[in-house]
Amino acid sequence: MNTLTRAKRWIGKHLILGLGILVLIYTFVPIAIVVLMSFNDSSKSRNVYKFQQFTFDNWLHPGRWADGMLDSVMLSIYIALCATVIATILGTLAAFAMVRHRFVGRKAANIIIFLPMASPEIVMGSSLLALFVAAGFGGQLGFWTILIAHVMFCLSFVVVTVKARLSGLDDNLEQAAMDLYATEAQTFWRVTFPLVLPGIVGAALLSFSLSFDDFIITNLNSGQEVTFPMFVYGANQRGVPMEVNVIGTAMFVIAITIVLVGELARRRQEKALAA
């Protein structure tokens, strides 16, 4: 009887946590399938998206079946890198302006920065396409138009992320630096920048993954270019090559590794210091 009440209490205490963990598991089911399918041998019947036989072939020769796939991955990486660099720089500058400066039109700027996050991608993509066509670039859609679009939708996320970090910064720190003989420039590079850097890095990682993964806007503005998400979408209509799952799994593993290594390094350092 005692154990029963105890069990009841235990369940009451852990019910919500348990449900939360179930939700998390649910979010990982499709990823497990991506990983699983990356070992699937689909050479017998390509049109069935179903696990048939275990093989390492997809990992060993990811470019074997899908000719365009590796090109599309390279293109996606290249675009994501360019978009990340541009969006991170512009967005960081804008975040500094928003937090540190008072100027006429600040409210309007705030709204313009917020809106892209609140607009459906299909609308943003189609308006951009309308602009390109109206400006006479309808025939030249491709790398540059994709890049422009990606910078556009990454920018807002960069501004928001950096802004959060920056406004959380204690301005006493900069004042202390100035009090300790640091000029404005030294204060910026020795104190402000290092403290905001984690926010900037976070924003850059976010930009990269948003850009790499974007489909809807890209698809409307890509012309003849094929990015990785477009390749997957197109392949779906012909029968998905299992190699795309290799890319998906690799991306996931790389990203998780980066996060874990970063976290471990941080913990390690903390422990060493605390000792």
Binding site: N172, M178, D179, L180, Y181, L195
Partner: protein
């Protein structure tokens, strides 16, 4: 006051590096934090700025450091005006109220920050010495968030001290320390200050700290300095009810001032006639508050002789007694319904007077002070 202190409190001497604030004012949109402040802090002095929360202490320090621009008024260091000088060009350093340690730098780098910015190359030795001084040598490679509040405070102190500024501003630098460490740091600070001969402007809530450490104490209230002087002078001869109540405790009894009689001022309090030395009377006509510190009041059972009688008032009775070891604190209700505090040394000469005892009280006229009755008698009493 010692002759040396006397000399330094006088106006700025030629060639000295006194800190002079004149007519310094800071207004915010709806609020004046500092009002026409005039202040001279002589070079090499330990100066304490004491006042209740929100009275403008931090604001004043920030203007001296160059972190806030005054609305009007000037700040001089010796002959140089620094009112609008950039903070990094002033030979002034601050120990911030919330420490403001750089979280991304370890302790040694925090301490070395100022020296490095001034282009000093080999800072190792100085940093090591400084950390030794604040007893943090073993923590040199920790980062600030991993330290206790008291340790952080010591780092903040070391980080400012290492620069040997002409003026060191300390905004409640010992607030987070426990009593023992605090006493230790007080001595340490005082020693460093005398040794290096820096001017210290020390902001604190703690009156005991201000009185034991400072050469000069300024009591600030609502953006103005109420009174400034040597600790003893402030305590013994307060000029406003605020100072009388904020520094220690005071009994303030309403009276009619009868006027000057030689070097005494006569006051009629509740029927009795009392006198106050002329230099302690800060009002000479109309109504006034007769002030007397509780430890200066003598008490005896009604009708019994009082040791060293001065002005006497009779007809009170004890409503509360508390024994605090070295002394006994009586609350005495007077015929006009005011309660007075009386602290008596526990010399053992007489047994404690129980509650309800009818008593007479008395005090030496030279310890009384007289204040203008237009002030609130409760000003400066810390309600908690």
């Amino acid at each position: 006051m010692s002759p040396a202190a006397e000399a330094t409190t006088s106006t700025a001497r030629a060639g000295s590096r006194d800190l002079r604030l004149s007519q310094l004012t800071k207004e915010y949109a709806t609020f004046t934090a500092v009002k026409s402040l005039d202040l001279v802090v002589p070079q090499g002095q330990f100066f304490a700025l004491l006042g209740p929360s929100g009275c403008g202490k931090t604001t004043t320090l920030r203007m001296v450091a160059g972190l806030d621009t005054p609305t009007s008024g000037t700040i001089h260091l010796g002959e140089t005006e620094v009112t609008y000088e950039k903070p990094y060009k002033r030979p002034v350093n601050t120990v911030f109220q919330n420490y403001a340690l750089f979280p991304h730098l370890d302790i040694a780098d925090n301490v070395a920050f100022g020296l490095k910015r001034r282009g000093i190359k080999d800072v190792k030795k100085q940093v090591a010495d400084m950390l030794e001084l604040v007893e943090l040598t073993s923590q040199a490679h920790k980062k600030p968030p991993q330290m206790s509040g008291g340790q952080q405070q010591r780092v903040a102190l070391a980080r400012a001290l290492i620069n040997k500024p002409e003026v060191l501003l300390l905004d409640e630098p010992l607030g987070a320390l426990d009593l023992k460490l605090r006493r230790g740091m007080q001595l340490e600070l005082k020693r460093i200050q005398t040794e290096v001969g820096l001017t210290f402007v020390h902001v604190t809530h703690d009156q005991e700290e201000a009185m034991t450490m400072a050469d000069t104490v300024a009591v600030m209230n609502q953006g103005v300095i109420e009174q400034m002087g040597a600790p003893i002078e402030l305590y013994e001869n307060p000029r406003t009810t605020f100072v009388a109540n904020f520094l220690g405790q005071s009994n303030l009894i309403a009276g009619e001032i009868e006027g000057r009689d030689g070097d005494q001022v006569k006051v009629r309090v509740q029927g009795a006639l009392a006198s106050v030395p002329g230099d302690r009377a800060h009002s000479e006509s109309g109504k006034g508050w007769l002030g007397i510190r509780p430890e200066k009041v003598l008490i005896a059972e009604a009708g019994q002789p009082i040791d060293a009688p001065g002005d006497v008032i009779t007809g009170g009775y004890v409503t509360d007694v508390s024994f605090v070891g070295v002394s006994t604190q009586y609350t005495v209700r007077m015929p006009w319904d005011q309660e007075l505090m009386v602290f008596e040394q526990n010399t053992g000469a007489r047994a404690m007077l129980p509650v309800g005892t009818k008593v007479d009280i008395s005090w030496r006229p030279e310890y009384a002070f007289l204040l203008d009755a237009s002030q609130d008698a409760k000003a400066g009493i810390e309600e908690d």
